[in-house]
């Protein structure tokens, strides 16, 4: 059994490192898609949570998944968007955090979301709004495999990470103009689609699953110092070949 105080110290160190790293990234000319994925991974790492998804307003009245710590989280979130119900949507519409400690108690409120979440072995869901000057642009959503509340400390951390995500998405640091907000939200949503398409290309060429394909895509983008969305577009358009990203050995013999 690990000493709880030791465990806390280790966690704090990790948290601090993550913030410093993300803050560093945001100062440089950074790749927003990569930073946001990293942010969801940091959430899984430092908060008591299993899967994390980041959703963004599509400006058509709905929400879309922008980044997720795994395919599993994404499936769940997509389900609730489709079902038009659930904590993420309520958080986005109200602009307030929605903390669901035990999903099993919400089956009548969310008759479609709750059973699906439980079936996928998720028992808690906590949604934190991404806010910019009174406007909610999305939500950060934490799904846990055990029922329970996040605790004051974790909630503060989650809020700080949500704010970091907001800053990351709206990278013109002073967005006063509505048109700039739209330009950036729509660009971010389209990048997301590009990345999914590229994952498909890579998965087919290699036999990797979608999560693995994403990691390879990301490694290549980092190694060559290119934005993830540009690498993704080039792969789908045939400007880049799958074996350039995978390396010569990894391509599937079909």
């Amino acid at each position: 059994m690990t000493d709880p105080s030791l465990r806390d110290t280790a966690r704090e160190t990790r948290l601090l490192q993550s913030f410093v790293h993300i803050a560093d990234t945001l100062v440089d000319d950074y790749d927003v898609d990569d930073v946001l994925h990293e942010l969801t991974e940091v959430c899984v790492d430092v908060l008591d949570t299993t899967a994390v998804g980041l959703m963004l307003a599509d400006q058509r009245g709905g929400l879309q998944t922008l980044a997720a710590s795994s395919e599993k989280a994404r499936l769940l979130e997509l389900f609730q968007i489709a079902a038009n119900e659930g904590p993420c949507l309520e958080c986005f519409r109200s602009g307030d955090p929605v903390l669901v400690d035990n999903i099993a108690e919400y089956t009548s409120r969310w008759p479609q979301f709750a059973p699906t979440a439980l079936k996928r072995d998720f028992h808690s869901a906590h949604s934190i709004p991404l806010r910019l000057r009174g406007k909610t642009i999305g939500s950060l959503n934490l799904f846990g495999q055990r029922p329970g509340s996040p605790g004051e400390q974790d909630l503060k951390v989650a809020r700080a990470l949500a704010d970091t995500a907001t800053i990351g998405i709206l990278h013109e640091r002073t967005i006063h103009r509505n048109e700039a907000l739209t330009e950036q939200l729509q660009t971010a949503l389209n990048s997301r689609i590009s990345i999914e398409q590229a994952k498909g290309v890579l998965a087919h060429a290699s036999g990797l699953d979608m999560d693995q394909a994403f990691q390879r895509l990301r490694q290549y983008a980092r190694r060559t110092n290119n934005p993830l969305s540009r690498v993704a577009n080039q792969l789908t358009e045939g400007i880049l070949r799958p074996d350039q990203i995978l390396g010569p050995q990894a391509s599937r013999r079909s």
């Binding site: 489709a82 729509q186 999914e196 994952k199 498909g200 979608m210 789908t236």
Partner: protein, 217 residues
Amino acid sequence: MFRICHAGVEMLPVDGASISAVRDGAERETLYATDEIIARVESLQFTLGEGPCHEACASRRPVLVPDLSIAPQTRWPVFVSEIDGLPIGAIYAFPIQYGAVDIGVLDLYRRHIGWLTDTELNTALQIVDLAAGALLGAQSETVHDTDGRGLKVWLAPLPRNRAEIHQATGILVAALGIPAEQALARLRSYAFTTDSVVEDIANDIVNRRTEPVVFDT
């Protein structure tokens, strides 16, 4: 296209709309323009190779200019001076895209300067989705069936939030060596002819229950 452009002009506080299609990733062709002014704006940009709609295509992002008179001169110097005599206050250019798929661009202009409200913006983006479906459908013969069901199917916007549709598109690109816009069109054609929904077909492809070769026509 006629209906979509006019719906735009009717539902939004704009004075004109046009839709251009992108072919083979580069070439643009104006399919419809509601008036002479927006037609002129379009053709100018073709000729000059600069302007907001041109930039929207090239940079893959909406380019929204609520007041053209204060747009930086350096951004589109020739374009701005050429349209000087035209009664244009604002231009909103939305690329019509699904990820790497370039379908076209929707251009709206209004005589007065000003920004669209959130509701108007919502409408504009839904028109973009409608145009995307219609333009993709224009490449497929299923759209021209006799009872008109095809058209209805193609005008239903593709759900953007379904990652699996985009992943399946990518799988078809890799498996069949076709451009992404064709892959997407084949997914929808297949859904139409088998009377199923694109989401389910995509799910089968991603989970390797349907072989990509089925889509090789």
